[in-house]
C-alpha cells in the first residue's frame, strides 16, 4: 500500500465506523481510538474490510496495514488524504 486513500479523514472515519457498526453490536458505539481486537473485530473481518475499502475507494488497501495501524484513528491518520501523519505508505 503505497498511497493514501482518496478521501479525507472524516469520510474515512465515518465509513469505518459505519462498516464495523454494521457487523458488531456495540452499545456505546464503535470506539475509534481502541484497537480492533479489543472490541471483538477480528483479523478475518479486518481483511474482509480491507477488500471492501478497496472496492469502495477504488484503490489498493494492504490488509497488513490494518494490523500495523490497528484502530480506526490510527488507520485514518496514516491513510486518509488529509491524515495527520506526515508520510506513510511507501516507507512501511
Amino acid at each position: 500500500m503505497d498511497q493514501r486513500l482518496p478521501c479525507d479523514a472524516e469520510t474515512l472515519r465515518r465509513w469505518m465506523v459505519s462498516y464495523i457498526g454494521s457487523i458488531l453490536t456495540l452499545p456505546d458505539g464503535v470506539p475509534t481510538d481502541k484497537t480492533f481486537d479489543s472490541y471483538g473485530f477480528d483479523s478475518v473481518e479486518a481483511v474482509v474490510m480491507s477488500s471492501v475499502l478497496e472496492e469502495e475507494f477504488s484503490t489498493e488497501v494492504d490488509p497488513v496495514q490494518l494490523f500495523e495501524h490497528p484502530s480506526i484513528d490510527a488507520f485514518v491518520a496514516a491513510f486518509a488524504s488529509d491524515g495527520a501523519q506526515a508520510t506513510h505508505g511507501g516507507d512501511v
Binding site: Y19, I23, L24, G40, D42, S43, V44, E45, V47, V48, M49, S50, S51, V52, E54, E55, P63, V64
Partner: protein, 293 residues
C-alpha cells in the same frame, strides 16, 4: 439395499497421502455408533493424475463409491455438485477438502443433531493438525513428514479423540465465536436442493470463498436452525492447500475472495456471529454459550 441415513461427499485432488487416512476416519469402526447401512461415502476425484480407488484403502470396509469428475476444473464446485447429485442419504455432509480427518463420533453426532430441528444446518468445527495454525507451523519447519510423526505420536487411528491433543482450532473466538465456514457441513437433502448446491459461479482455484458462501447461504435459508457440533471436529492434514500453506496465501485467498464476493453478491462477506445451537456431542445435549467459554 435401503437408503443410507447419511451420505458423505469427499472431494479429492492429488491427495494420495491424505485421502486414505480421511476415508479411514470416516468409516466404521473408527466412526462409532453407526449401523451397517447408515453411511455411504462418495469420493469425487477432481482430476488427480492417478485417481483414487478401493486399492488405496486396504482394510477399510465401507460403502465407498469412487467417481471421477468429468472435465475437472480448478474449482471443486462441479465435483461437489456431482457428489450431491449422486448422494442417496437423507442427510448429506460435504468435505470440500479430502485432506480432513474426522473425530470418531462426528458422523453419529451429526445424525443426532439432524433430529433436533426440522430444518437443521449442521456446522462442524475446523481444526488444523500441528503446533499452531498451519500457515504459521510451516514457518517453523512443519511439513508432511512432521505431521506423519505427530500422528504416530498419538498412535492414530487407535484413539481418534487424541487428534484434539495435536491440533489447533481455526476459531479464534472459540466454538461460539465468529465463523466463516465449516469444512464438513451437513444439511438434509431437501435443504441442499433448496440451496441449489454449491454455486458454480465460484470458478477460481480451490473455489475461493465458496465454502463460506455455502455456509452463510444455508444459515440464511428461511426457518433453519444452525447447530454447531462441539466435542467433534475435522482436522486438516497439510497438503499445500491455498488457504493453509502460508499466511500470505491465506490472506490473499480471503482478500481476493472478499472482493469477488462483494461483486457477486452485492454485499460484503460477513462472519456468522450467531452461533445457533451448540450441541455438545459428548454430553448429548445443547449447551449454553457460557459453557463454551
Amino acid at each position: 439395499m435401503s437408503r443410507p441415513s447419511v451420505s458423505l461427499i469427499v472431494v479429492s485432488y492429488q491427495m494420495a497421502r491424505e485421502l486414505p487416512r480421511t476415508l479411514r476416519s470416516l468409516s466404521r469402526p473408527y466412526q462409532t455408533d453407526l449401523a451397517d447401512d447408515d453411511l455411504e461415502i462418495i469420493v469425487v476425484d477432481n482430476g488427480s493424475a492417478r485417481p483414487p480407488g478401493p486399492e488405496d484403502i486396504p482394510g477399510v470396509d465401507a460403502d465407498i463409491r469412487f467417481l471421477q469428475q468429468p472435465n475437472p476444473t480448478v474449482s471443486p464446485v462441479p465435483a461437489i455438485n456431482t457428489g450431491l447429485a449422486a448422494a442417496e442419504g437423507a442427510l448429506i455432509g460435504v468435505w470440500i477438502d479430502g485432506a480432513r480427518l474426522a473425530s470418531p463420533g462426528l458422523v453419529a453426532a451429526c445424525i443426532t443433531a439432524s433430529r433436533l430441528h426440522p430444518r437443521p444446518v449442521i456446522a462442524t468445527l475446523n481444526y488444523q493438525l500441528g503446533p499452531t495454525l498451519q500457515f504459521d507451523s510451516v514457518r517453523q519447519g512443519y511439513d508432511q513428514a512432521a505431521e506423519d510423526r505427530l500422528l504416530a505420536s498419538i498412535g492414530w487411528p487407535e484413539d481418534g479423540y487424541r487428534l484434539f491433543d495435536i491440533a489447533r482450532s481455526e476459531l479464534r473466538g472459540g466454538p461460539a465465536g465468529p465463523m466463516l465456514e465449516s469444512n464438513a457441513l451437513f444439511l438434509p437433502r431437501a435443504l441442499w436442493n433448496e440451496l441449489g448446491g454449491y454455486d458454480p459461479v465460484f470458478v477460481e482455484p480451490g473455489g475461493g470463498l465458496v465454502n463460506s458462501d455455502t455456509y452463510l447461504r444455508a444459515c440464511a435459508l428461511p426457518d433453519v436452525q444452525q447447530i454447531r457440533i462441539l466435542g467433534e471436529g475435522t482436522f486438516h492434514q497439510i497438503h499445500g492447500g491455498l488457504s493453509t500453506s502460508t499466511l500470505e496465501s491465506a490472506v490473499d485467498v480471503l482478500r481476493q475472495g472478499s472482493r469477488l464476493y462483494l461483486r457477486r453478491r452485492g454485499y460484503a462477506l460477513r462472519t456468522m456471529r450467531d452461533p445457533g445451537w451448540l450441541y455438545d456431542a459428548r454430553r448429548g445435549a445443547i449447551v449454553p454459550m457460557e459453557a463454551t467459554a
